[in-house]
Symmetry: C2
């Protein structure tokens, strides 16, 4: 094993984080007054509700998980980019289209950063946006149904990591490439990376009423890695800030070769200026191919549109729109305080935090005080834009959030701690160890103009001994802190499902009243829905058989079907006729090369079954729905390919 910076840092992390962990274990082992107080603070008694929703990214699960705070209980996994056998997402005919891309159907992605829609810089709780890293996409989830409603692919991108963050009126959701690639793609040697690859920063407009997304323009930046981003707000509304690393433009062994420059950049983008340029006809349309998948609540179905063109912007052609702020040590997180004045660069190989001043940046731009340029983009002087530095005493800062009371909370991966500091004085106020190796921190509304500074959640990358062991593979771990006082108080460790890469929190009182309970049957416009069991039937079209079926406690209509043949493709179109809250039914048929259907009240779902063997095969309801749930079953007879058994169906005959 080579001795690399990475090895060294790993060693440091293990030593600092885990030894701290052991100390804490001992102290928390004293179940005295402090533990009792923490117990009561996180306890949500049976029948009571949590104060906050927290939406945790599932990271490499590809999905979004919904937790309550302060209890740390997981209420739901919302399938977004990954197939979800539990309810048939990505398997049923209605939902498969959600996972279409220009590369074909993709059953997975790596979901990193949720961001809740805002109005005037405040969380409005209408939608939550998330990014797929691997095959670049942005998804929008409706926060009345808690279902994924839209996914748009991002062309010319790769490792869509500096995403998906929104502007203060949800004008745009922003997606930035992490890996630069040839644009357009071409067959060139990897060694020609430097100067030839591009980093696309994409601005996706969001329709104010419906939330519908449209890829408005892409800024074609130099071939750096774009790591994270945040919008300006308040006085800096109209700007967006992106961290870069690998400004060395290395194409191999990046752990060494991308850590050579003392400073990389934060890219400051005046998107309002670019928007004006675009609205005046600026930019270059280029051919592209990317999928736009939309789910319609009335048809209960998703459709894919393949888009064929994208508007690209050369930043050097829009003077005054794009600048680079030198920022030390491969900055990772790029965070903007609630006032919009400070832009924080979390230099991940550093002990210090770099705080840029928006006012100073504007002054330097207006004075045209530049320190050269990179690929035609002006570089500002580090000292001209610097508000100051936080001498943290920690190592490896990654991310910062805010409490709305003038304080910032920064995570340090290597020294494994959460550090609270004053945004104006930049003095450290408190520090608490994390177990182990913290990544993001989340304060509800912490990424808005109006944070709710009661709790902070640290999301840790290493779990080790924090819970009962479960073999080599462990869940990641979150830690909940009470931040209502001067000092942070650790309340609770709770495991997360998938990688809790980042999270977004919001007071329950904003979301809960808007939560939908059922789909109205009368509004069901699904092509194959039946609104009355009297319309149930089975129709043959060649070797395709369409079963129009209904379900209600506790039977299917029909529940006996004959006349199906080997070689048929059977479409079960099933409508749940319940109109009560929390009465889904499921549907499964033996031998299906498919997942189940889990069908909500008023909803229609379709499962394809291709029977391969002659016989009489059962189907049944998979969700325990009533005292006679076990009786909710039926049979389907499959005859030989050349059989002349006529199609027939019945219930109770």
């Amino acid at each position: 094993m080579k001795l690399t910076i990475s090895n060294l840092l790993v060693t440091l992390a293990v030593v600092s984080g885990i030894s701290a962990g052991c100390n804490n274990n001992k102290s928390s082992g004293n179940r005295g007054a402090l533990a009792s107080s923490a117990a009561e603070k996180v306890y949500v008694a049976p029948g009571e509700h949590d104060e906050f929703y927290a939406f945790f990214s599932g990271g490499y699960s590809g999905n979004l998980t919904v937790y309550g705070l302060p209890s740390g209980r997981m209420f739901k996994e919302i399938p977004v980019f990954s197939q979800f056998p539990t309810n048939g997402y990505g398997y049923s005919e209605e939902t498969k289209a959600m996972l279409n891309t220009s590369h074909g159907f993709i059953p997975w992605d790596d979901l990193h950063h949720p961001d809740i829609s805002q109005t005037n810089g405040k969380l409005d709780g209408r939608w939550i946006f998330v990014n797929g890293n691997n095959t670049p996409r942005i998804a929008r989830i409706d926060l009345s149904t808690f279902e994924t409603e839209e996914i748009i692919e991002i062309p010319n991108s790769a490792g869509n990591h500096s995403s998906s963050f929104i502007t203060e009126n949800t004008e745009y959701v922003v997606a930035g490439t992490r890996f630069s690639v040839p644009v357009p793609q071409q067959d060139i040697s990897i060694s020609e990376y430097k100067g030839n690859f591009k980093g696309a920063l994409s601005f996706i407009s969001v329709a104010p009423e419906t939330g519908k997304m449209d890829l408005k323009f892409q800024i074609m930046m130099p071939g750096f890695d774009y790591d994270l981003s945040h919008p300006g707000r308040g006085k800096s509304h109209g700007w967006f800030f992106f961290t870069t690393y690998n400004t060395e433009e290395a194409n191999t062994l990046l752990e060494v070769n991308a850590s050579q420059n003392d400073k990389d950049f934060i890219a400051a983008i005046n998107w309002k200026k670019i928007e004006a340029y675009v609205n005046e006809g600026g930019g270059t349309k280029m051919p592209a191919s990317y999928a736009h998948n939309e789910y319609d609540d009335s048809t209960h179905s998703a459709t894919t549109t393949v888009k064929k063109e994208v508007l690209t912007i050369d930043p050097t052609e829009v003077p005054g729109a794009v600048f680079f702020l030198p920022t030390p040590k491969s900055p990772h997180g790029c965070d903007v305080d609630p006032t919009g004045q400070y832009i924080i660069g979390n230099g991940k190989l550093s002990a210090d935090l770099t705080i840029h001043s928006f006012d100073k940046m504007i002054a330097a731009i207006e004075a045209e005080k530049f320190d050269g340029e990179a690929y035609g983009i002006p570089i500002l002087n580090f000292e001209d834009v610097l508000a100051g530095q936080v001498k943290s005493g920690g190592l490896g800062p990654l991310h910062t959030e805010f409490d709305g009371k003038g304080n910032a909370y920064t995570t340090f991966f290597i020294s494994s701690e959460l550090v609270k500091w004053n945004v104006e004085t930049r003095e450290v106020i408190d520090r608490q160890p994390n177990y182990y190796s913290v990544g993001h921190v989340m304060i509800p509304g912490g990424n808005s103009a109006a944070p709710f500074g009661k709790y902070a959640v640290a999301m840790n990358k290493i779990t080790k001994d924090r819970y009962l062991p479960t073999g080599p593979e462990l869940e990641h771990s979150a830690q909940l802190f009470d931040i209502s006082g001067d000092k942070m108080q650790l309340l609770l460790d709770f495991p997360t499902h998938g990688e809790p890469h980042y999270a977004a929190g919001i007071p329950a009182e904003i979301l809960a009243p808007r939560s939908k309970k059922i789909y109205k049957l009368e509004d069901n416009k699904h092509e194959f829905a039946i609104l009355s069991s009297e319309d149930s039937r089975v129709e043959r079209q060649g070797n395709e058989v369409h079963v129009y079926m209904s379900m209600i406690r506790s039977h299917f209509t029909p529940d006996n079907i004959e006349g199906i043949k080997v070689g048929d493709k059977v479409y079960f179109h099933i409508t749940n006729h319940e109109q009560d809250f929390d009465v889904p039914h499921g549907f499964a048929v033996i031998g299906a090369n498919n997942a189940e259907l889990l069908i909500m009240p008023g909803q229609t779902r379709t499962l394809v079954w291709e029977p391969k063997q002659v016989g009489v095969w059962p189907f049944y309801c998979t969700d325990f729905c009533s005292a006679l749930h076990q009786e909710m079953q039926g049979y389907i007879r499959v005859s030989p390919k050349d059989s002349d058994i006529r199609l027939q169906w019945s219930l109770g005959e």
Copy 2:
């Protein structure tokens, strides 16, 4: 909507359960001394560990989830019958074979009943067995790795629900069909069900040292529905008990037609007698086709063997081996107390519980006192085998577990409550409401000769308002009770992932010390593993390209690959060279029509990628592994199909 028994019962359940819920909400709203005590009882302080593992079935998620008690925190989801994009289970080349069946590859099933291996009637914590209902299968999970090691398909079955329960020395794991089917399958009318369909009860032997499963024999029972089962223990070791319903043999509208008989049966099977019969050459071999999937920890790979024969037993040919015990009202759960003396029939349409006496059953059998027969199987007199009834005051009993202190705990779905009663006196001691509509109850070891009677977990079928709302689809809910005193105390509501159909609990001190932390690299026998990065290479065989890759913090070897062409099928065989606990790496490549790989230390996994477009495409590590995780990336160049670019690979050159 027809007025059916089901509708009526639903109404009752809603009225009783939910109005009780509202009352409780109010009282639990008083955060007084009781709530404080509950808070402290369930609080596991950061760094401390839970006292029990609880393995919850995911129901229609197809997977098994691991929780801690008393905290209610979920530590892991173990993929079993369903594809799991999070770690590539069912997507990677090594794991796809686990989901093979005689119907082909199946990405999902409905997992209901976990049971932990036993020695002398006590939990030994070596393995946990679970059933797949829809396409009948039994899986074995190793409790040192917490990974699925083996799945065996069950032929001649359908709706494999009365499964997977084990005998007291894990001699057998038992699987019973819920839906009867033609055996062998044939093209007959569904209306010919009665008298022609069969219900197979399968006994799968478990090798004492390795746990390997083999389908030893199937008993071909009459065409009833076989709902649940439990082994005899202690004095009744050697017997197995199965509930039946639909002894009416209805084939349509079962919610009405299968509720006609006042009594159905519990089938008592003397499996030792049948085993002896089999060992003497008894039974009939019949052709069958079923998959046996085995995962090998040393090759890190699964293989499928298709078995072609099964030994069937006609119960009428083994006198003294099979009897029917009349049991009222469509019994659901079939539970045996820790002494093995009492067999409890939970008549789901009844207010009362039926307690059969093993001693009385044996006496009646020996006296040959029968009340007729069904398809040649002797029926015992109800009164002759009855130990007594529990006049519960509840409605709709489903399942019973035991605390090892002489008490039983029965769930009532319709009246939505948990009722504690004395096994010997059959007097009700306590009752607590459940929110809402409880299914199973679990006491750690509650299904063994030696329960750990400290906690009971009620698993509820309806959630409604118990947590913050998440749209129409909700997680199910569990409720934790302290049962250490005379009266049960409700401590905690916690949501479960998937349907918490049933669960099995075990003290942490039995499992935790045996939990594996890493796979030893030196023991890795994977065909495509490389144990040193110096062996990394790329080889072409026609249009198949095999990449032998290694990963360690924080780089891949190689990280630049050229010479791949459109139309190639690229196999990334990746070995994780870490040998520290909790340092997995992930692997993803843009545009793959596949999930990611999540690779544990010492493990090898393979992802197939079929590039469709010319270009330079990135791959990266998906699990935040070090301070330079973001630098853990590489590029692969894809040239046109007819390109003559030579295959080359490198790191740091």
